[in-house]
């Protein structure tokens, strides 16, 4: 039926005469998470018709799950089934699912909850369901979601939106890391003390280190993918990062994060611009939303203040985009004692948050191992 497929094709690079291959030219916008139906989609039949001996996984789509996970694309489930069905699909496909919504409510609502829980915009979601009515409901409620039939999904690995240009080590492990995040959140919810006590209890380790050429793909990925904890108005390009690494006037640092649940790898970065004894600038500070609430941004801001102070700076300034989405960034700036002139938001949406570097500087907890900065 043509109307069902229209949503999949609507993202095609229309008007581009060079792109007329036979396969569906759909999905040019990057997809970060695919949300799958279970019955007659990921499994070859209906779970509740034989819950004691459920139908096997669809072999073609199980291969698609593996292929996309290897490219750093997350998977999630939205199914009209009891929660046991999700456990079964995990076993049957061997795939990691970052979230599972099993129940009888609207799938559009389930997709909204999954996106919010993962910190991903619904415009970066693809939804796969064999049922035409489910697809129609989701298309109507969330037109920005890429809605696919199982047949579409089988071809999706060939589409540009499912083919990220760079696949970093962090991206390849993304599904696993989100699964660890769910276990960590469950333990945090049951933990009584402060967040700092929790971070200490689960063996949190943050390492701030100088960035090297091998970090470039991950730096670029962080610049493009992070929004809630990102100060920049425009993501730095790969070439710009390359230039900053070579520049004597700039310092680029990465932040790696690990705890007893998982080694998250490089989750954050900051750029510092030296300016002799004057006010130094941090033109970009970014942290993956997966690391939200784990002290990485606070550690980076404290490190920036301390490194600038050690280099002789009198003040540090962070130009930060002021949006609803990156409120956690502004909260961290406030917690680090940085302030903007009230009302001083520039035309590009950024305000300059600054602090003097005399007196007490923000501290680094003992689990942060910090590079002393350039000599």
């Amino acid at each position: 039926m043509a109307p069902e497929r229209r949503s999949a094709y609507s993202r095609s690079p229309s008007g581009d005469p060079g792109n007329t291959q036979a396969s569906p030219p759909a999905g040019t916008k990057p997809v970060k998470c695919v949300i799958w139906d279970i019955d007659n989609t990921l499994i070859s039949g209906v779970y509740l018709e034989s819950p004691d001996d459920p139908p096997p996984a669809d072999p073609e789509l199980a291969a698609v799950l593996r292929e996309l996970a290897g490219r750093g694309i997350l998977h999630a489930l939205a199914s009209r089934n009891p929660p046991e069905a999700a456990d079964y699909v995990r076993r049957a496909t061997g795939a990691q699912f970052a979230a599972a919504e099993c129940g009888w409510g609207s799938k559009a609502a389930a997709i909204g909850r999954i996106a919010a829980g993962l910190g991903i915009g619904t415009d970066a979601i693809a939804f796969v369901d064999d049922d035409m009515l489910e697809r129609a409901e989701v298309s109507a409620a969330l037109p920005e979601v890429l809605v696919l039939t199982p047949e579409d999904a089988a071809e999706a690995p060939q589409w540009p939106g499912f083919s990220p240009p760079v696949i970093t080590a962090e991206a390849r492990r993304r599904g696993e890391l989100y699964a660890a995040m769910q276990r960590r959140q469950a333990e945090a919810a049951a933990f009584g003390g402060s967040r700092e006590e929790f971070l200490r209890r689960v063996g949190t380790r943050i390492a701030i280190a100088p960035a090297a050429a091998g970090d470039l793909p991950r730096l670029h990925e962080l610049a493009v993918r992070t929004h809630q904890l990102n100060s920049a108005a425009q993501p730095l390009t790969l070439a710009e990062f390359g230039g900053l690494l070579k520049s004597a006037a700039h310092v680029v640092a990465t932040a790696a994060l690990a705890d007893d649940f998982a080694d998250d790898g490089t989750v954050g970065a900051a750029v510092l611009e030296r300016n002799g004894p004057g006010q130094w600038l941090a033109p970009a500070v970014m942290v993956s939303c997966r690391a939200l609430g784990r002290g990485v941004l606070d550690a980076l801001l404290a490190w920036l203040c301390r490194t600038a102070a050690r280099g002789g700076a009198s003040a540090l300034a962070v130009p930060c985009l002021v949006t609803e989405r990156n409120l956690p960034m502004r909260l961290a700036l406030a917690a680090a004692g940085m302030r903007a002139e009230p009302g001083a938001v520039a035309a590009d949406g950024r305000a300059l948050f600054r602090r003097d570097l005399g007196g007490d500087l923000p501290g680094l907890p003992e689990w942060v191992s910090a590079w002393e900065g350039p000599a």
Binding site: G295, A334, V345
Partner: protein
């Protein structure tokens, strides 16, 4: 009809304890520093402000660039009461 400031402070205490999952914060003094003494972090602060917007219709993030309102529960309550009846004329 807006609530008196002291009642707002009392409600905020409960909201803070809920969003942080730390029941002991239900006894936090109104003048205690939220970042400095209560150990509020950027995630907790974002959750607190989301609840404030739902409960009181005051969007602190949009109206307070430096988030000075988040210094203490008292300053937050004062900010809410000041802004609750919609933007001033």
């Amino acid at each position: 009809m807006s609530l008196p400031e002291a009642a707002v402070t009392a409600e905020l205490r409960q909201i803070l304890a809920e969003v942080t999952g730390r029941p002991e914060l239900a006894g936090l003094p109104g003048q205690a520093g939220l970042f400095t003494e209560a150990g509020l972090d950027s995630l907790g602060g974002a959750l607190l402000l989301r609840q404030v917007r739902r409960r009181y219709g005051v969007d602190v993030a949009a109206e307070d660039l430096n988030l000075d309102a988040l210094q203490t529960l008292d300053t937050l309550a004062a900010f809410i009461c000041e802004h609750q009846d919609g933007p001033a004329g």
